[in-house]
């Protein structure tokens, strides 16, 4: 089957684009007006107490800049690793038919290897988010 593009060349004279631009302008203006009204209308009384962070009604302890120890970086790394899978699978999916069964076999073994590594990671406790863990 021949590849039939759904869009022709973009031209600034296409009437659809003009209306899109007007629409976008209106959206920005509306948002602007709403934001400005919300910011300007009403009474403003600023004092140090109001600007202070709320911490259950008590003064927060001063000078606290602790590091972020939450194990977010582990999650982030795992996400990155497994997200790469998506890049391969989607590109294979687009070209599935030309690649044929050989391609299918390749991608299946790739998914299998990733699956195994997930099992390994799980068994190793890398996904545990528990007390006393990093």
């Amino acid at each position: 089957m021949d590849f039939v593009p759904t869009h022709t060349d973009l031209s600034p004279w296409t009437p659809g684009l003009v209306s899109l631009a007007i629409y976008a302008l209106m959206v920005f203006m509306l948002i602007g007006v709403i934001l400005w009204l919300a910011g300007w209308l009403g009474e403003k009384r600023v004092n140090p107490e109001k600007l202070r962070p709320y911490e259950c009604g008590v003064l927060p302890s001063p000078g606290l800049r602790p590091p972020h120890p939450a194990p977010f970086y582990l999650v982030a790394i795992f996400f990155l690793i497994f997200d790469v899978e998506g890049a391969f699978i989607f590109s294979w999916a687009v070209a599935m038919e030309p690649l044929g069964w050989w391609g299918w076999l390749e991608i299946t073994s790739f998914i299998g290897i990733l699956g195994l590594s997930l099992v390994y990671l799980w068994a190793k406790g890398g996904l545990e988010w528990g007390v006393g863990r990093p």
């Binding site: 009474e43 001063p62 006393g132």
Partner: protein
Amino acid sequence: MKLATTPEPNIADRIINWAHANSLWPLFFGLSCCFVEEAVAFTARYDIARFGSEVFRGSPRQADVLIVSGTVFKKAAPVVLRLYEQMGEPKWVISMGSCSNSGGMYDVYSVVQGVDQILPVDVYIPGCPPRPEALLEGLMTLQKKIRSRERPARTVFHLSGGNQGSSGGLRVDGRDKARDARGPGYSGCGIRGTAELPPHFRGSRTDLMWTPPAPALELSAPDQQLAAVLAQRFGAAVRPLAPVTDMLTLETDPGRALEVLRYLKSEATPRYERLEDLTAIDESARNPKADADFTLVYHLLSFGAASRLRLKVPLSGSEPTMESLTPLWPSANWYEREVFDMFGLRFRNHPNLRRLLMPHDWVGHPLRKDYPGRATEMAPFTRAEAEQFQPMDAAELLGREGDNENLILNLGPHHYSTHGVLRVVLALRGEEIVDLDLDIGNHHRGVEKIGERQSWHQFIPYTDRVDYLSGVANNLSYLSAVETLAGIEVPERAQYIRVMLSELFRLSNHLLFVGTFVQDLGMMNPVFYTFREREQIMDIVELITGGRLHPAWFRIGGTAMDLPRGWKEAVSNFTSTFAKRIGEYQALIDRNPIFLARVKGVGAISLTEAMDWGMSGANLRACGLEWDLRKKIPYAAYPAFDFEIPTADAGDCLARYRVRIEEMRQSLKIIEQAAARMPEGRYRTADYRYAIPSRDDTLRDIESLIHHFVNVTRGPKLPRGEAYAATEAPRGEQGYYLVSEGQSKPYRLRIRAPGFANIQTLPLLAGGRYVSDLVAILGSLDYILPDIDR
């Protein structure tokens, strides 16, 4: 502002006022008892949502109405002020209840005499506590005020003039308010009753009265044996005191006390496993003069023998030092800190001897006899003080100044899940709790000090407010001690009425527990159902006593009145449906996987630890110990009832929940039995020496009339002596220790509160767990602030 000077509202004013008045957003902030009625106002029967105040906001940034619901404590006043300041414009303040309006019943050193000294107030709601309807009325009054007096348009459009939000200024003592307890025109005389108060007792007329001595207790065989063994082992260092009214009482020297206590805990027969209570007495105002300046009083409890023992240690000096008991009982930690705070006694080798209830920068020791009891004897607490005396810094509290590894976070005093003004200070690594400490005393109403100036009768209403969810069950604890001390026989009918009402309040308390506990865990529904049944109970309580939260309906020797017509139908209407309701709650909650994941295995404590830390009530029974004062050391009419003691083994949040659910079934059984077998007869003793004579009798004979007059005005004279009595209150063992000098008022009144001991275990339960677990644990302990701080 005068109405006459307010200009006519223009169309913009009208629109803005309409919007303001119909969408008021109250802040979710409870200070005290009043908040319970406030919370009831947003459940189904009262439905505050009708007024556009649907969901109370958890953050001041999202709220525009501050309902100051309850007592404003000097320790908590900076918090109240900060929350108000952190709300956006425009904002309004409703002062709910007598305490917030004027200090109310609590003219005491720790209470601000009216929140209008630190905040501008728009609407005052009278009552103690006001009913939920009164809050709705207050809200409508505020709406009316907004519509009629506010002209917000010019303010909103940044033009000069116009007004919106709280416009009244602060009230200043002597200018536009009077804190004088005597009322206007009485400045020449003393406050009622002052003349007979400590330290002088000059005007006391009770010295002219006679009462029989306190009944002497015949010591049981094991007690006599123990006294003999102690005499053999310690010689003259341990002296049994006689006569006693309630338990074996020993006196020992400060140097030997720890040794004696260690022996009693680990070697004696029976073993006294629990430190029931530790407190002190200031002996300086004794009449005749005492040898010691202070006495430390240790109350111990033996689970095995179901008996108690009192050990008294006389101390001399203005600030005597005593060896700390913490190596023996970890629970002594807070008890000793409280003694230090209130009396100024020091404890050697105490891990952390600093103030517990009073603010860290407080001056003086309030329970000393020479310390002024009334707030009105002190300078007014104004906005300047509220800005100056800030709560102790969290990092300093934890001893972690300069800790750059962990996040130091305050949870409370203003927080959904702290159930009152409890402040938990956390050191967090991620979400894990590395370190935890508590800052209590934000709800310290100085009730033990008040006890020393109220007559034996007058104190009853204060007991209701000690555990404000348990109503008359508090009266029972106090009266048990009074009646032990004076040897008063309570008629059987009165005993049954007392049992029935106390059990109704246990149900009411447990219903609130179940609802709020699971709500803290994210389950919104059950609280609406449990409050529905709670209101049914409140209706019965109202029918019988005329009050809701604080009936103050028991009297010395019985109750205030007989049961009214129609009580039985009301009770049986409730009991016939309630068993099914418990099943419904369980169907809603018990198998919910999220609920189970949040509570199972969370916050577990072993039985030995629970005993060592002085836990009681359902929290103790959840660790597997079948211990319930109603069965083990029975009081009132409980021996006549057939019920069981539910227990669980795990000692975790789930176990505590399950025990309470089962306890509701048992309470229901007791109520049914009490209603079915309610005996005939007097509802109050005929011993008019102590009891208030019934109206019929006062109209018939002069003796009763005289006794009525004396007992109501001056108060009955109780014999010299001391007595401790505890009951199984809904929240655990609540005990009253009374020391009488033969006056119409106690010389010392001490409350052993279950919550105080229970909450002290929090670092043990929540340390090393997540913040979300902490919320579950707090809910499961079922504490209440006035019960902790008193």
